[in-house]
Amino acid sequence: MKLTPLELDALAEVFNHGVGQAALALSELAGEEVQLSAPKVEELSKRQISEKLEAQGSNRICAVRQAFSGAVNTDALLMFPVEKSLQLVQLMVGSDVPLAQLSEMEQESLAEIGNILLNSVVASVADMLHIEFEGSLPQVEQGRAGDMLYTEDDMDDAILSLQINFKIAARQVQGYLVFLLDVASSEALKKKITEFIESME
């Protein structure tokens, strides 16, 4: 899609508004302060995202996926290394997770956490860029990052990515929120960003 630095900045503003809303909602849920920050909006290749996630120590990824459709169609994925997803659920639910994998109920909690974040971020996009979306329920997936990002297409395809840091009770968990967009949706989104920037001027 190739966004200019100005356009990436505008998107960062939109995303951060949503991330701020999500932090409030997650804090209410956890009963203690959940800090969320999204320091970087980038266009990364699928290969780069896979490498960044695997650099955290594992090639097993846990993701929450939601599809949003409308003028812009996108699959939004919140991705963590599996161990980090365990940690996040443990911090949010406030109990220990003695098993090596998320149980069914813990997966559901992760789905809820991801749902809050994805809905908040996409709602900000909808409100600020004036795009109407229809959303799906979240689903939790485990596997390799490449499979989740449909790398049968092209590992060098650029996708919109947002680094997300969760901070709860002095512990930090890092994940990535990525938006998979087809060509038509990329163009539609770029156009909406341009309009948003013009409306600011």
Binding site: A25, E28, L29, F68, G70, V89, M92, V93, S95, P98, L99, S103, E104, M105, E106, E108, S109, A111, E112, N115, I116, N119, V122, A123, A126, E132, F133, E134, G135, S136, L137, P138
Partner: protein, 339 residues
């Protein structure tokens, strides 16, 4: 305005028979709300577990029918879903039982709230335009059996982890437990600058005991000595373990050399008081033990091996000096002395 909405779905009795049948046999709760969050429809599963009639709730606000929802996470999620149009889910672990739903009285005798997994699905823009308003479907699944199963699974996992650390014969900690605990306690004592005590215990002439009375009796003897150790070392942070063979060990946090030596003497005395017969124990006629003691504030370079080695050196000295006695490793003189 009457409570029943004009554009509401027809009452269940006016639904096509097959649709009514499908909804009645769906094994999860279905609740349809209009754009003002008034109840339009509830299926049989939901009515049965909420213990309400459709006539009593249709057309009423969901938060009026179930006041318990007010101010809670469900209300927040519902309002957000109505605003954004995006589906939301409430997971059981974070919200065990949002709705006051109970197992049908006829089948279950207890009154526990059902554990629920709740989906809030607003109509998409296209369907909402066709329907004249944005309806919201609430789907509720009873996950109580899953919760019970996972609780059992976790209890098993915790028990397995305990078993890995227990000596099967005596029920006190095993060697692995000792090694892990010793390393952790040494670090803790080093950090806080507190004294860590260690008592190594060896049953006197245990081989002869086994030869004389047989191995089952030997096992009983070991268990009896382990029980003595547990009885004497009963402060919350004291740890007792089987080091190997007939050697047992106690880790005593916050204990100096005088305290650790006293614990060792108490163990030996209690063992004598038991009066377990042992006719091949150097003329003593009862089961006795020897103890080696070491206690100190750990130095930065103290390893578990080094600390255990000093207690072991004291134990060896106690045995050499005639058994049934306590020796302490004196750090200043770098040798074992009677304790």
């Amino acid at each position: 305005m009457s409570p029943a909405t004009p554009e509401a779905a027809p009452p269940a009795s006016q639904l096509p028979v097959w649709l009514d049948w499908v909804l009645s046999n769906t094994p999860s709760g279905l609740l349809l709300l209009d754009a003002q969050s008034r109840i339009v429809f509830a299926n049989k599963w939901f009515l049965l577990r909420a213990r309400v009639d459709i006539e009593g709730i249709q057309g009423h606000g969901v938060r009026d029918v179930f006041p318990v929802l007010r101010g809670g996470h469900f209300e927040r999620a519902l309002l957000k879903a109505m605003r954004t149009g995006f589906p939301a889910l409430l997971s059981q672990s974070l919200h065990p039982s949002p709705f006051p739903l109970y197992a049908p009285a006829a089948t279950v005798a207890n009154d526990n709230l059902l554990r629920q997994s709740v989906h809030i699905v607003p109509m998409g823009p296209t369907d909402a335009a066709a329907a004249g308003q944005r309806y919201i479907l609430i789907q509720i699944a009873d996950v109580s059996p899953t919760v019970a199963r996972e609780r059992l699974l976790k209890a098993h996992a915790e028990r397995m982890s305990d078993l890995v650390h227990v000596d099967g014969l005596t029920g006190i900690g095993n060697r692995r437990f000792f090694d892990e605990s010793m390393a952790a306690e040494l670090r803790a004592a080093s950090r806080t600058g507190s004294s860590l005590g260690l008592v190594m215990l060896d049953i006197d002439q245990f081989k002869q005991f086994n030869d004389l009375y047989g191995h089952p009796a030997g096992d009983r003897c070991l268990r009896a000595v382990a029980d003595v150790l547990k009885t004497v070392c009963r402060r919350p942070r004291d740890l007792v373990a089987r080091y190997g063979g007939e050697e047992l060990v106690a880790i005593l946090p916050d204990t100096d050399d005088a305290g650790a030596a006293q614990v060792a003497r108490d163990i030996l005395q209690r063992l004598r008081d038991l009066g377990l017969q042992h006719d091949d124990n150097l003329g003593r006629a009862i089961v006795t033990a020897s103890a080696g003691v070491y206690a100190a504030v750990p130095k930065a370079n103290d390893t578990p091996d080094a600390v255990v080695g000093r207690a072991d050196q004291a134990l060896y000295a106690a045995k050499s000096a005639g058994r049934d006695r306590v020796f302490c490793f004196d750090a200043g003189r770098q040798e074992a002395v009677p304790g």
